[in-house]
């Protein structure tokens, strides 16, 4: 997928939106309304594409309960490592074990053993204990509950998707591939506030039909760019051959 580095300042988006609504002076709704609407739009398209990639490193506390990054909307990968830098060749993956929960002590709750009492504290028999080289964690209310084996490492590296903006509340840039979609969303939101039914109807087409700007932006983001296509071509035609 073409992440693309091209971005436009927010003012490009909201000026175009306000002009289309003939509200260049922002006299009816105010400029902050348009900025807020654009942030909503960026968050929504981020949810559909996971375009806003971020990294975060956190230390593993002794109670093995770790706060997730506050702006995490989806995890890509989680690695465990020691030292200052995550050395991928020796950093194991942290697996997510659904429903696993502990309170910093021994044992853990996991609703996946068939016991009718979900809060039973299980102490693994020796033969059934997870291998020490298996690192896993449960997730609950914005926290990770790490298995005891994770204490072998000091840090966790998160590769994740953020909320679409770096600092919530500040102005932001809009990626090139979703410029039209974000503009249409902002116009739609403003037209709804102004009760402009004609504009709402026009923008509904852009935002809700398969050929509209919203779907087109998602399509554009998810398609391969030229280099990816070349790479794939080479991979598919020459992989495993000597020449």
């Amino acid at each position: 997928m073409p992440a693309g580095a091209a971005k436009y300042p927010l003012s490009e988006i909201i000026t175009a939106a306000a002009q289309e609504l003939r509200d260049e002076e922002f006299g009816e709704l105010g400029r902050p309304f348009y900025v807020s609407a654009a942030q909503h739009a960026l968050g929504a398209i981020n949810k559909r594409t996971d375009f806003f990639k971020k990294e975060h490193v956190a230390s593993i506390p002794q109670n093995r309960i770790l706060e997730l990054p506050g702006d995490l909307t989806a995890k890509d990968d989680v690695y465990l490592f020691n030292g200052d830098n995550c050395n991928i060749t020796s950093a194991p993956t942290l697996w997510i074990s659904p429903n696993k929960l502990h309170f910093g002590g021994t044992g853990s709750v996991a609703h996946n053993y068939g016991n009718p009492n979900p809060f039973t504290t299980w102490i693994f028999p020796v033969n059934f204990a997870p291998a020490n080289c298996l690192y896993y964690a449960g997730e609950r209310s914005g926290k990770l509950y790490l298995s005891p084996s994770c204490l072998t490492f000091s840090n966790v590296l998160f590769l994740y998707t953020g909320i679409g903006v770096e600092c919530f509340g500040d102005d932001f840039d809009v990626p090139e591939w979703c410029r039209e979609a974000i503009t249409d969303w902002v116009i739609h939101r403003a037209a709804t506030a102004m009760r402009r039914k004609d504009v709402i109807a026009e923008k509904n087409i852009e935002l809700k039909t398969p050929s509209g700007s919203w779907a087109t932006a998602i399509w554009d983001y998810k398609r391969m760019d030229k280099k990816e296509r070349y790479d794939n071509s080479v991979y598919n035609t020459r992989f495993g051959r000597y020449y």
Partner: protein, 254 residues
């Protein structure tokens, strides 16, 4: 462009009231002319704003530089909160969405030439005092120095009511602002020699409005001795204000 006095004289002549002891004098007609101008200006502005055509009425915007007052403890209405405000230098038209104030900007006379002019920078956004609660609840909308707000309210001060504009998010160092207003022409002085403050194409409508108002004024008071209609002779016409069509230009409010 004729003067206000010329319009008044024309109407007086048409009504046959241009002799010395006429029932309608020139000052009274000037006053009505002024009212007519206000109405026509207001409906022109409202109409254009309604369709987003602000360029057509940009010549009706007046600019002022106003001093900003910080933390006024002597304010009778808001003495217990840190109000930052200025008083409107003139009365403004009452328009939808508070558009009587066209724009407020920081006064930045010392900006380098390569920067945009003051009006191109940092727009002030209008809200109401009661609306501040919802605005402060939004990270992208709450006031700060780059996102200032203003709210109008009538302040009852020791020197009488003031048409006050409260400011939110502006820095303590701000002493002056530049404002653009749809200002109402001064009512306290009527200069007969001043040109009529209207586009020429509206003079016909203005003249008609003045004539009708003056003609009606000449018909009252009509003495009615009983309020059940028996004071009239059979067939006597009851004089009423002339009805005008809703399609008359003077009625095209929006």
């Amino acid at each position: 462009m004729p003067s206000l006095g010329q319009i008044a004289d024309d109407v007086a002549h048409a009504l046959g009231m241009d002799h010395d002891d006429a029932m309608r004098n020139r000052e009274a007609i000037l006053y009505v002319a002024h009212l007519g101008i206000l109405k026509l200006k207001k409906q022109t502005i409202a109409k254009r704003l309604g369709v987003g055509d602000t360029q057509a009425i940009s010549d009706m915007v007046s600019t002022y530089i106003v001093p900003v007052v910080h933390n006024d403890v002597g304010d009778d209405v808001v003495s217990d909160w840190d109000a930052v405000w200025f008083d409107l230098p003139t009365t403004v038209f009452s328009l939808d969405d508070g558009r009587g104030i066209s724009a407020i900007r920081y006064l930045r006379n010392e900006l380098p030439m390569n920067c945009g002019p003051a009006f191109a920078l940092t727009p002030f956004t209008q809200t109401t005092l009661a609306g501040l609660n919802s605005i402060y609840g939004s990270a992208y909308q709450k006031p700060n120095t780059s996102r200032p707000y203003y709210a109008r309210a009538r302040a009852n001060t020791l020197t009488g009511p003031k048409d006050r504009v409260y400011l939110f998010g502006i820095d303590q160092s701000i002493n002056h602002l530049v404002v653009a207003l749809f200002a109402i022409p001064d009512f306290t002085t009527l200069d007969p020699d001043a040109p009529v403050d209207l586009p020429d194409e509206m003079l016909m409508t203005l003249r008609k409005m003045i004539l009708e108002t003056e003609a009606w004024a000449l018909q009252i008071p009509q003495e009615r001795l009983q309020n059940d209609g028996r004071d009239l002779q059979p067939g006597e016409v009851v004089r009423t204000s002339r009805l005008t069509s809703v399609n008359d230009p003077s009625n095209q409010d929006a």
